[in-house]
Symmetry: C2
Subunit: 281 residues, 2 copies
């Protein structure tokens, strides 16, 4: 997905939010906003938003000297979701379609995305999404293709969400390669969080090589690119991965909640819609 | 009111909105955002937000060559509200407190502020505000001081709102000096709109001299400053005037809806609260 004009004020909002998480003094945050403001002229509109996001978060780290400002938030989120696992399993046990319930839970996990919205109530979000109508629903294709596949390439998003992904992976019962970000970027899952959650016990964890808050192919390593190109079943979680991959012709299932007006418009859905979209037709 | 960090992304949003109103090509709007982005470093946080707003809207005019991008919107808004006047008078006629109803209508008019929010339904907004509880309610002081005053200095805000102000002025039945902006800035009322509405028939219209989207004393002309300093009863409409005057010790009644989180926090009220606040204690 290209960068839309609406993304530019959003970049400023993200810089403000990340700046406030990293430091508390107004002067430094003002400096961050000033520096990000100067970067706007060089943002190529044909690039995907996560590519610019990467530059902005790198600038914040450079100014504050803090490499992983979301570390505590990531840990808090993971621990909160981990404590909810029995409840989440209960939701699946009580459902008439276990796979669909696990898919919905995995999308519910996508709500926990501090890059877009800091205010959320996890349990409330889950309850809403378990019954929300899909705006794009390729679940039947998902179920059929899943039954025909041996291996899944699963593109993780944020760290709290990865706990939900673990439940979906268990429910699917297939061999999974779980791709994480190369280094900390916003609240995205890296190797550290994936291992903390125990994803390494049920999947092969690899780094995509991407240092952006999304899967940006030109930033990815050769191993990932090879796996991506060979894969017959890819699950892509969240907005950042969608933004990076929406123009690729590949067997991708996008699982996300469309949280911003730009992505919603790109997908022709309302804001806050839930999506299970198969990319290849 | 000082500029808060949250104002900075909001400036970018305002620039985007105004840019889209002025022109339609992405390249020019991107240029506007780039130029406004470069301005952030020079924004003094101790200045009021309308002072920066002025620089931003001037930059947009400079880039697009359009001095009054909101001209059509202002006209449409005024005509829409003018067509509603019989209905508005009916609301007052059917109220148990005519003055309070006119005050509430005048605040309802403040919702028509395209600098902050483009999407609104006038009639729905009016109906809500006619029954909404005031978050700050100095109406009793307003009524008492009004009965003791001979002349009111009324600081207008946007042009659609000025039609509502006209009804309040008629209802108050006092001599009124109605201050407008020196030249077009967003959708604020200037001499042209004030005369179009017919405010010159019931009040003395003066220019405050301010070229910002708010009453910024250091931009005001000597005549206005003299009137302001001598006045015993000032009505200040809207956010921009509040932002410019909130630190002045003067007999001002602020009538507004707090539409943004920053002003709401400054006033210690919820977003979308309606306010009738007497400044001098």
């Amino acid at each position: 997905m290209k960068t839309y004009l609406e993304c530019i004020p959003c970049f400023m909002n993200q810089a403000l939010r990340a700046g406030k998480i990293a430091v508390s003094d107004e002067e430094t945050i003002k400096l961050i906003l000033s520096e990000v403001g100067k970067m706007i002229v060089d943002i190529p509109m044909e690039n995907t938003p996560p590519e610019t996001g990467k530059l902005i978060y790198e600038k914040i780290s450079e100014i504050t000297g803090i490499k992983d400002p979301y570390k505590k938030i990531k840990n808090d989120n993971m621990n909160e979701v981990i404590s909810m696992i029995p409840k989440l399993r209960e939701i699946i046990d009580n459902s008439s379609d276990r796979l669909l319930a696990a898919v919905r839970l995995s999308i519910a996990g996508n709500v926990i995305d501090l890059g877009v919205n800091r205010d959320f109530n996890i349990l409330q979000a889950i309850q809403e999404i378990m019954t929300q109508k899909f705006a794009i629903n390729d679940y039947e294709i998902f179920r059929k293709k899943l039954s025909e596949t041996d291996e899944i390439l699963f593109l993780g998003d944020n760290s709290g969400e990865s706990v939900f992904d673990k439940i979906l992976i268990e429910e699917m019962g297939k061999k999974v390669v779980y791709a994480v970000k190369e280094q900390p970027i916003i609240n995205d899952t890296t190797m550290i969080e994936a291992k903390y959650i125990g994803l390494d016990k049920i999947a092969t964890i690899i780094s995509s090589g991407s240092t952006a808050p999304g899967t940006i192919m030109k930033l990815c390593n050769e191993d990932f690119k090879m796996r991506f190109n060979k894969s017959k079943f890819i699950i892509s979680k969240g907005q950042g991965n969608f933004e990076g991959l929406s123009n690729f012709d590949a067997p991708i299932f996008f699982l996300l909640r469309a949280k911003c007006p730009v992505i919603s418009r790109d997908l022709c859905v309302d804001v806050d819609s839930i999506i299970l979209k198969y990319q290849r037709r």
